[in-house]
């Protein structure tokens, strides 16, 4: 199937899943952190576990995980904190998303390789 359709289909699911998490976790920053860490974990695991299946990796990796996680909301929320004068919270937000996502990618990849 056309790779763009696969990515788009995964993107629909990822965006809807993110929207659902956002409705449950009614705090913008926590909700962004949650999707970014969960999505990074999933992408790490999928990349290690599905390396042989390009189609599934395109749907769930590029499509779903790419759309489920978001950089733009993270960036806007961090800048808003900074401009409100909450500079320490802004730095903390930038740091925990990065550290959380990097650890999650590593953990996901490791789990997929040992399971």
């Amino acid at each position: 199937m056309n790779a763009f359709l696969l990515v788009g289909g995964g993107g629909v699911l990822g965006a809807l899943a993110r929207f659902t998490v956002g409705s449950v976790v009614a705090d913008g920053r926590r909700d962004t952190f949650a999707v970014n860490v969960l999505g990074s974990f999933a992408l790490g695991a999928l990349t290690a576990g599905l390396a042989a299946d390009a189609t599934l990796l395109t749907v769930f990796g590029t499509g779903f995980c790419g759309a489920f996680t978001t950089f733009s909301s993270f960036a806007v929320e961090t800048v808003e904190l900074y401009e409100r004068g909450e500079r320490r919270e802004a730095m903390a937000n930038a740091t925990v998303n990065l550290v959380g996502a990097l650890l999650a990618v590593g953990l996901g990849g490791w789990l997929a390789s040992v399971v």
Partner: protein, 134 residues
């Protein structure tokens, strides 16, 4: 259309808007990644910076003039731009780079992404009230 049909449609509308935006955002992100050279993750940097500019402008617009309604924010913000930009691919690519390039990649996405949000807000401010912005 009966009243209950209309209510069901009203409840489904946010999901449809997010789904349509999410489809378009993911497809365009993939197209950008294919169009830019491999090796260095230029595609992710490009979508993250462009999407941060647009979301900064869109959400700031809601606070200054609010001409774009909730539907637009769901379609373009929650759907398209949040799907167009990505944190997971950014994290995966960062983890796979050499330590030096990883630091450069994080610094570039963060610095240009945050500056893009500020630029998006500044653009809206000057368009919404050109006489104030001078």
């Amino acid at each position: 259309m009966s009243e209950s049909d209309a209510n069901a449609l009203e409840r489904l509308k946010p999901l449809l808007l997010v789904a349509v935006g999410g489809f378009a955002g993911a497809v365009l992100r993939h197209a950008v990644a294919l169009a830019l050279p491999d090796g260095v993750p230029w595609g992710t940097l490009a979508v993250n910076v462009a999407g941060s500019f647009a979301l900064g402008a869109l959400l700031f617009e809601a606070t200054v003039s609010g001409r774009l309604g909730r539907e637009t924010r769901l379609l373009v913000g929650t759907g398209f731009l949040s799907s167009f930009t990505t944190y997971s691919t950014f994290a995966l690519q960062t983890a796979s780079l050499s330590p030096k390039l990883a630091v450069v990649n994080v610094a570039a996405n963060y610095a240009f992404g945050f500056l893009a949000v500020v630029a998006g807000r500044t653009a809206v401010r000057s368009l919404a009230a050109p006489e104030v912005a001078g």
